[in-house]
Amino acid sequence: MFEIFGIPSQALFSLLLLGAINGAFYAMMSLGLALIFGILNIINFTHGAQYMMGAFAAWMLLNYAGFSYWSALVIAPVAVALTGLVLERLFLRHLYHLDHLYGFLLTFGVSLLIEGAFRQKYGVSGQPFQIPEQLTGGVNLGFMFLPHYRTWVIGASLTICLATWFVIERTPLGAYLRAANENPTLVRAFGINVPRIVTLTYMGGVALAAFAGVLAAPIFQVSSIMGANIIPIIFAVVVIGGLGSIMGSIITGFVLGLFEAFTRLVWPEASNVVIFVVMVAILLLRPQGLFGMR
């Protein structure tokens, strides 16, 4: 076995893979946040709760209604997106013209309510969620044993991230979206229903969080605190990548996942702070974020 930077190659390869898997979650989550911020101008702090709701929705579909994992993967994000519809129509739309702080406070409050309700009902230890039959087991790569499910997570997340990027940046629908963000009055003058586009965008962002939640369910316990655990990291990723940049958040998500995994190997105690250290450094050197404009 050979060594790279004094680290056995075996450990290095496996940590790269595991980092990419965590990065996949960071990318999907921060992508949704960036999307919502870009179009709605809202810092959606409910994102963690919506991720948790996605996992719980899948768990409920499996346990109460007998659905398969695969159908839950589609139904759960749609169901959670519908709760996003209610939230946006009832509350968020009144806040678009106000300071960011208002949207932030509202979504933060809502996430506390949601997480509190789930904690009351289901506790914090979490519900067991088995890996779907077709994805159990794994493959021996020589340097590590890679469970099939983790391979699937990377694939699914990359596909979803790139598809979202494509829709926003390369299709007419995405062009409307970006235009509605630049100049809503003018876009309206062309007969395009801007409020509807905004609502759909919010639902899309929420669905991304819920989709990540369903993907996470078999890896982490489905618990009321899973969202609260991941959300600070996601915000750091978004700040590092630059608010509102779609490709920026995808790349930053994956890169920071790798960075974190690397820290886990060389200095495990620091692995939960390393992302925030990077965030502080970026804020000092490039306040608009790595991929931010302005």
Binding site: P128, G137, F220, P268, S271
Partner: protein, 401 residues
């Protein structure tokens, strides 16, 4: 001006009557634990409910006055725990504090209680330093500690041939103490510790740690963490096929709530040490079924411990005829603990409540016959053997003999 002077006078009057009332009032009990973070299921509101049951079963009164109770969530933060308990002692006139998960919080509050000369009885907190070098004349450790866990699980696994160990340890006082106490037993029994990794608290993804543990080729992977941390570690170990490759997991601290959450399919076969199990005998079942009615979950060992410790405290207050800390502590040491939780338990001079511990194994799904039927007891570890002997104590209160 006159208004504010009158207002000030009124405030003083209120403050004075409030404290005068409390000083002449009955016993006031404080229950502090984690009600919102990763230990909320194993202690949390279940611990508060156990305290409520203990007070009700005692008749709600001691020394002819009603027993009061307040509770708080310390969110696993030692600073919050310290602030709340200081306020309880200074303003709320709390006489004794119970439960207290999180070893860091537990050691911080020990110092506050020592200065305030108020009684602190810990059930959920784990570090054996609490009755070791940090011991206090006002502190009692009730249900278990890291030494007893290490002695139970660690020793047995080495005896079964698990002589090389790798630890995955949560990075705060609890994990450090549990790793240290277990490693001591492993080494004493002729085993070797090949390595240890510290993970942040709390943590979600354990795959990197598990793969390093796997690469170490240690026969036993010791999990010195708890609550959701240990649940996620065990779950991900199953995902990565760790146990199928011949390594064994040692869950050094597991609660019924963790096994319930993992499910028997994932948790089966794990050997663990516990201070109590709901399904031991008719007495434990009677209490646990009453608890279940209220919480829709069987009590964990520490929740049962909260009930037992509060009952013992109230009996001691009754026997002492006062709620003054020193006489009550003397009575708590003098009187044996005899209830569904412990038979002939004894509070030692270092504050350790010595009682029988149980070495158990998680049942397979086939062995489990009804809801919450999770453990089979392999062995009863007699109290004096289970806990650190006084002769090895680092506690300054213990007269060396």
């Amino acid at each position: 001006m006159r208004h504010s002077a009158a207002g000030l006078g009124l405030i003083f009057a209120l403050l004075f009557t409030a404290s005068a009332h409390a000083q002449n009032g009955g016993v006031k009990i404080g229950v502090i634990n984690d009600q919102s973070s990763i230990y909320a299921d194993l202690s949390g509101m279940g611990g508060v409910e156990a305290a409520r049951m203990a007070i009700e079963d005692f008749g709600g009164k001691v020394l002819g006055k009603p027993i009061e109770m307040i509770s708080a969530d310390h969110q696993n933060k030692p600073d919050i725990a310290s602030n709340i308990v200081s306020k309880w002692f200074d303003v709320e006139n709390v006489d004794a504090v119970f439960d207290l998960p999180n070893s860091s919080a537990m050691l911080a509050v020990q110092e506050i209680a020592r200065k305030a000369k108020k009684i602190l009885v810990v059930s959920t907190g784990a570090t054996s330093d609490f009755t070791g070098k940090a011991c206090s004349p006002f502190g009692i450790h009730w249900t278990y500690d890291t030494y007893a866990l290490a002695h139970g699980t660690g020793k047995v696994l080495v005896e079964q041939g698990g002589d090389t160990w790798f630890f995955i340890t949560v990075d705060y006082a609890f994990g450090h103490a549990l790793e240290r106490d277990t490693a001591n037993f492993v080494k004493a029994a002729g085993g070797k510790v090949l390595g240890a990794l510290r993970h942040p608290f709390p943590n979600q993804d354990f795959s990197t740690y598990l793969l390093q543990a796997q690469a170490s080729k240690a026969k036993i992977i010791g999990l010195a963490n708890a609550g959701s941390d240990v649940i996620n570690t065990i779950k991900q170990a199953a995902e990565f096929g760790i146990t199928q490759r011949g390594q064994r997991l040692a869950g050094l601290l597991l609660f019924d709530s963790d096994i319930h959450s993992l499910g028997l399919r994932t948790a089966q076969g794990i050997v663990m040490t516990t201070g109590f199990y709901w399904d031991l005998n008719d007495e434990t079942r009677a209490f646990s079924k009453r608890f279940f009615e209220r919480r829709k979950a069987m009590p964990t060992m520490v929740q049962a411990g909260v009930y037992s410790s509060i009952t013992h405290y109230l009996k001691a207050v009754q026997a002492a005829g006062t709620k003054e800390s020193l006489p009550v502590m003397a009575k708590m040491r003098e009187m044996p603990v005899d209830d569904f939780f412990a038979k002939n338990g004894q509070v030692r001079e270092d504050g350790r409540m010595v009682h029988d511990m149980y070495l158990a194994q998680v049942k397979t799904p086939e062995e489990s016959k009804y809801d919450w039927d999770y453990l089979k007891i392999l062995k009863v570890i007699p109290g004096p053997e289970a806990f650190r002997p006084l002769a090895e104590s680092e506690c300054p209160l213990v007269a060396k003999r």
